[in-house]
Each structure stands twice: as structure tokens, then as C-alpha cells.
């Protein structure tokens, strides 16, 4: 009996230690970046492992406010996130509902037509040529439209409607003289709000974080989303691209923060919206993931 207890303690101990350690590894780098962004650079050099800054220095943030690309980046990212998420939700709702009608003629054909794209697609160059050909190259639409509907999410939405909306409710509405549009907006939509909330989060995070589409389809810097600006600045270490206005030059000469601190501030400002809403949304996305696993 004592042996068994010892084994149990060992399993529990290892679990707490390993999970706790992993959780720390996940969050500590982010905390450091936030701390470095408000830390005086000389303090950082003196002790880079210090997590709490001795004195707060918001110089890097003030400086960031003068960068044109930063402004335009924020604007583009907000725009594509809002527009893209709205469009994603609308399309998901509109298309998932008719696809749940298993007896609708042509439904199976349409569904296979859609699902096939999960297994094969044209690839990078044909997609690039398409974006040029459709005429959305170098417009925000190139950042919004490709990938606006994910087949996987469409299948999840269908499962959600099928499992949560009672067919009797729908039939009652039809008997009362409602047409299918009424059913969609008065019955299906209100009941689907939890699922739509989950998809909204995933879609918004996806648009906010993506930089691949912009790398391919945007050459005009004023249309660069935030992530691309961040990449130039932090990963490519290209500080010069931020702007060359006389005012900026002057400011750089006078009160400039160290490039390192500036980079940290840029990372924080880019990630902050996600970090702020994250704790409130966790409930939704875990539910969404579980929705997927039920379908298996």
C-alpha cells in the first residue's frame, strides 16, 4: 500500500512540475518583452534578466507614434480584421444552412465540390496569378478574400446547426408561413450565436496575425498590415523603412529610444489587442474546439 501511495505522489508531482514549468515557458517571454518595452536600455544592459523595470520609460511608445507606417499598418490591419471577420461569418451562416438540408437536390454535389478543395488546391503561383487576374492585387481585398471561408469551419457550422436547432422548430415556422429566409434569420441565427462567436474569434485572430497574403499580394507599403511592418522592423532589422520625414529625423536625433526598446514596444503594440481580449474569449474557443472533436 505504501508503494502505491508513493507512485501516486510521484505521478502527481511530475505532472504539477512539468505543466507548471511549461506554462511559465509560455508566458515568461511575453512578460519580458512587455517589461523591456518600458525599460531604460541601460537598465536592460545592466541586467537583462530583471523582469520588473527599475523605472518606467515610455519613450519608445512616444516615438512609435511618429511612424507613418505604423499608423497605416494599424489601419489596414483593423480594416481587414473587421471586414474579413464580418464577411466570414456572413458566408458561413448563409452557406451552412442550405447545406444542412440533406434532401435538397444538388446539395450533395455542392458539398463534395467544396470538400474536394480541402485535399487539393492550385498552389502558390496559380493563386498569385488569380489575384492579379481578378484585379485585387495591391488592394485590401487581396488580404480579405483569399481564404475567407474555411471548409473545415463550414463543416463545423453545419454540425452545429444540425445538432442544436431542433427540426420541429424549423417546421413550425414553415407551417406558420415563414419562408426559408425567415427561418434562417429568425430561428437559425439566434440559436447559432455561440458558434458564430467562436468563429468570429478564430477569424479575427487569423486576419490580425496573417502576413503571408500581404507578402504575396501587396507591394504598396501604405497597404502593409501591421504584421508586415513588424517583420521588417524586428526580424529583418530594417529600421530605416519606418519613414524619413524631417520631423522623424530630428526626433530620432534628439530623444531616440534604443532600437531594441523600440522593437519591444512594436511587438507589444501589435500583440496587445489579442492579449487583452484573450482571457475573456477562452471559454468560446475551447467550446469551438470541442465542437470539432465531437464530430471527430
Amino acid at each position: 500500500m505504501r508503494k502505491k501511495q508513493l507512485d501516486d505522489w510521484l505521478v502527481a508531482g511530475v505532472s504539477y512540475a512539468a505543466v507548471g514549468l511549461f506554462a511559465l515557458v509560455c508566458v515568461v517571454p511575453i512578460l519580458y518583452v512587455i517589461s523591456y518595452s518600458v525599460m531604460n536600455y541601460s537598465d536592460y544592459l545592466a541586467n537583462p534578466f530583471r523582469l520588473l523595470p527599475k523605472r518606467l520609460d515610455f519613450g519608445a511608445y512616444r516615438q512609435l507614434l511618429h511612424f507613418d507606417l505604423f499608423y497605416s499598418g494599424y489601419k489596414v490591419t483593423l480594416l481587414i480584421t473587421l471586414a474579413g471577420t464580418t464577411l466570414t461569418l456572413l458566408l458561413l451562416l448563409l452557406s451552412a444552412y442550405p447545406l444542412t438540408k440533406t434532401r435538397l437536390k444538388g446539395r450533395n454535389a455542392v458539398l463534395s465540390f467544396i470538400v474536394f478543395t480541402m485535399f487539393f488546391n492550385g498552389g502558390l503561383i496559380p493563386n498569385y496569378l488569380l489575384v492579379k487576374w481578378v484585379g485585387i492585387y495591391d488592394t485590401v481585398w487581396a488580404l480579405i478574400l483569399p481564404g475567407v471561408i474555411s471548409v473545415f469551419n463550414l463543416l463545423l457550422m453545419m454540425t452545429f446547426i444540425k445538432t442544436t436547432v431542433p427540426e420541429a422548430l424549423e417546421e413550425a415556422a414553415i407551417v406558420d408561413g415563414a419562408n426559408e429566409l425567415h427561418v434562417l434569420f429568425r430561428v437559425i441565427l439566434p440559436l447559432s450565436l455561440p458558434a458564430l462567436a467562436t468563429f468570429a474569434i478564430f477569424s479575427a485572430v487569423g486576419y490580425w496575425n496573417s502576413y503571408f497574403a500581404a507578402t504575396l499580394y501587396i507591394s504598396d507599403r501604405s497597404l502593409w498590415p501591421l504584421q508586415v511592418v513588424l517583420r521588417e522592423l524586428v526580424v529583418e532589422n530594417n529600421m530605416g523603412m519606418l519613414g524619413s520625414s524631417a520631423q522623424l529625423q530630428q526626433m530620432m536625433a534628439q530623444t531616440r529610444s534604443q532600437p531594441f526598446t523600440l522593437k519591444m514596444a512594436t511587438i507589444v503594440v501589435t500583440t496587445l489587442p489579442i492579449l487583452v481580449v484573450y482571457p475573456f474569449l477562452q471559454r468560446f474557443f475551447v467550446k469551438g474546439m470541442l465542437l470539432g472533436s465531437v464530430k471527430g
Binding site: V27, I30, L129
Partner: protein, 315 residues
């Protein structure tokens, strides 16, 4: 509801039954229209676009006017030493990644399941899901700020001890470990969710009778929890094997630089630089097409294998 009263409808309106059926369900078909148009334009047109792999494509002549060259691009590809290097890099990277990133979420989920203090469990879950929501650019930024030899944390720290910091970000030897570690950091926590759901659906009676039989916690993990989530593990493994030929563009592109290209050039980045940087659209499409074809074969093979060993497979 669909399919009822069709005959009555056509008798009343005097239309062809099919037309009457379509009219009756016009809203359903109208609702589907935007989605179908989207998939035609953004998925099927590019799919047709792969024909340029068999053409000597140029912009002026267009898709239909460019001269047909058959399999020439493929012959050229197989004669190119670069191609084999990219093939090897892609495969080595994704196999290595699979080897490390696949078991970690399983282990984490098993351990999370052993944690009885709810507060501890909730807080750790919140923290380990967090990196999933951070963009690859930011992960790249974190890597640079910690590992840069000149001003990164590690660099600054090592310099203080008089040690020259190794060039983690530019030395090809560190590229694969960096990719694997950053994948583990970003996705492992998130990937536990699906295993935790599978564990949550295990019948508690199984554990109770095991306790009565005197099985300790470790034995319960090995003999109950693991076998119960076996099919989830197998399905996820199949999906991952089906994706062995793709490394994803964003992560690799962030960690790639001139110095590590010998190991960091994978299919995605190679296609990008061939097509968009050098303008060799046809050849880039050929390489991309080869890559997706292998991917399809792998997915099918993994699926068949799962069926063979008595699992469900993916369709």
C-alpha cells in the same frame, strides 16, 4: 422539408417539375450562390491554373496562349540538384517537427488530467493556450530579441561573462532546432485541447474499478487513459503524416535568412522565390504541383494504413 409537395407545385404553376422544385427552394439555392461562386473563383480557377506547369507561361500570352511544353519542366526539375536539396530539407524538417511536436501535447494532456487542483489547472491551461494566438512574426521577434548575439538577452548576458554567444539565428546548424522548438512552444498547449476532450469522455467507472483492483495512477494512465484515446491519437497522426510535405510558409520564412538557406529552403519558400522573386512562374508551379501531389499520396497512404490496423481513417 426539401422534396415535399413538388408534384403539387408543378401542377399549380404549370412549370417543368425541376424548375418548380428550384423555384420552391429558391432561397436555399440563392443562399448557396455566394459560397459556390467563391469556391469556383478562389479554388477551382487556381486549380485549373496548374496547367501552366506544362506551359512556358508568360504574362503577355496568358494562360491559353502560352506554348505547351508537356513534361519538360518536370524533367528539368528532376535534373536539378537544388530540387533534391529542397526535397530533403522539407522532409527532414517536417519529420523532425512531427517527432517532437506530436508526443508533447499528449504528454501535457495526460499530466493536466492528473492535476486535481482546479485553480492550478485552469491557470496553466490559460497560459499554455496563449502562444497559439501570437503571430509567427511575433514569435520571430521573440526569438531575435532573446537570441541575437549583439543585443539579445542571451547575447548581452553571455557577453557579461566574457563568452562569445553562438550565432543561433544565422548558423544553419541551429535552424531546425529553432523551428522545432518554436513549433512546440506555439502549438503544444493548444493541441492538448483535443486530447483533453477525448480524456473527458472516458467512462469514470473504468477508473473506479481499476482503483478497486489496486492500480496506481501510473498504471491507470497506461492501461485506461492511453488506450481510450488511442483512436484520437491515430487520426491526428494520420492527418499529420498527410501533411509531411508541407512545412507552412510563415514560420519558415520568418526564421529563414541568407546564412541558413542551405537548410531552411523548403518547398514553400523555394516556390515563392522561384515564382515571385525570379518570375519563373511555370517552373515554380511545377515544383508546387509536385509537392501537393506527394502530399495527396501521403495522406491516402496514411489513411489506408489506419484502416489496415483497424482504425477509422479520415473518411
Amino acid at each position: 422539408m426539401a422534396g415535399t409537395k413538388t408534384a403539387a407545385g408543378s401542377a399549380r404553376t404549370g412549370l417543368h417539375p425541376a424548375a418548380a422544385y428550384a423555384l420552391r427552394h429558391k432561397y436555399l439555392y440563392l443562399l448557396l450562390l455566394p459560397c459556390v461562386v467563391y469556391f469556383i473563383v478562389f479554388q477551382y480557377v487556381p486549380m485549373y491554373g496548374v496547367v501552366i506547369a506544362f506551359e512556358d507561361f508568360n504574362f503577355v500570352k496568358g494562360l491559353t496562349g502560352s506554348p505547351w511544353i508537356g513534361w519538360d519542366n518536370f524533367r528539368y526539375m528532376f535534373s536539378l540538384p537544388d530540387f533534391y536539396r529542397v526535397f530533403w530539407n522539407s522532409l527532414a524538417l517536417s519529420v523532425l517537427r512531427l517527432l517532437f511536436t506530436f508526443p508533447v501535447p499528449i504528454a501535457l494532456a495526460l499530466m493536466l488530467n492528473e492535476i486535481r487542483r482546479l485553480a492550478f489547472k485552469r491557470v496553466s491551461q490559460t497560459l499554455i493556450y496563449l502562444p497559439y494566438f501570437v503571430s509567427w512574426v511575433v514569435v520571430g521577434g521573440l526569438a531575435v530579441s532573446f537570441l541575437s548575439p549583439t543585443w539579445g538577452v542571451l547575447g548581452v548576458a553571455l557577453h557579461r561573462f566574457g563568452i562569445e554567444p553562438p550565432p543561433f539565428l544565422t548558423d544553419p546548424a541551429y535552424f531546425r532546432p529553432l523551428i522545432v522548438l518554436s513549433s512546440v512552444w506555439k502549438d503544444s498547449g493548444w493541441d492538448t485541447i483535443i486530447y483533453l476532450a477525448a480524456i473527458a469522455s472516458i467512462n469514470p467507472d473504468l477508473y473506479e474499478s481499476a482503483v478497486i483492483d489496486g492500480a496506481n495512477r501510473f498504471k491507470r494512465i497506461v492501461h485506461i487513459t492511453l488506450p481510450s484515446i488511442r483512436s484520437t491519437i491515430v487520426i491526428l497522426l494520420i492527418l499529420r503524416i498527410g501533411q509531411l510535405m508541407s512545412n507552412g510558409f510563415e514560420q519558415v520564412f520568418i526564421f529563414q535568412n541568407g546564412a541558413n538557406k542551405t537548410v531552411s529552403e523548403v518547398f514553400e519558400t523555394y516556390t515563392y522565390s522561384l515564382g515571385l522573386l525570379s518570375g519563373r512562374f511555370s517552373f515554380a508551379t511545377t515544383v508546387g504541383l509536385f509537392n501537393s501531389a506527394i502530399g495527396l499520396v501521403l495522406l491516402y497512404a496514411a489513411h489506408r494504413f489506419a484502416k489496415r490496423i483497424g482504425e477509422d481513417g479520415i473518411w
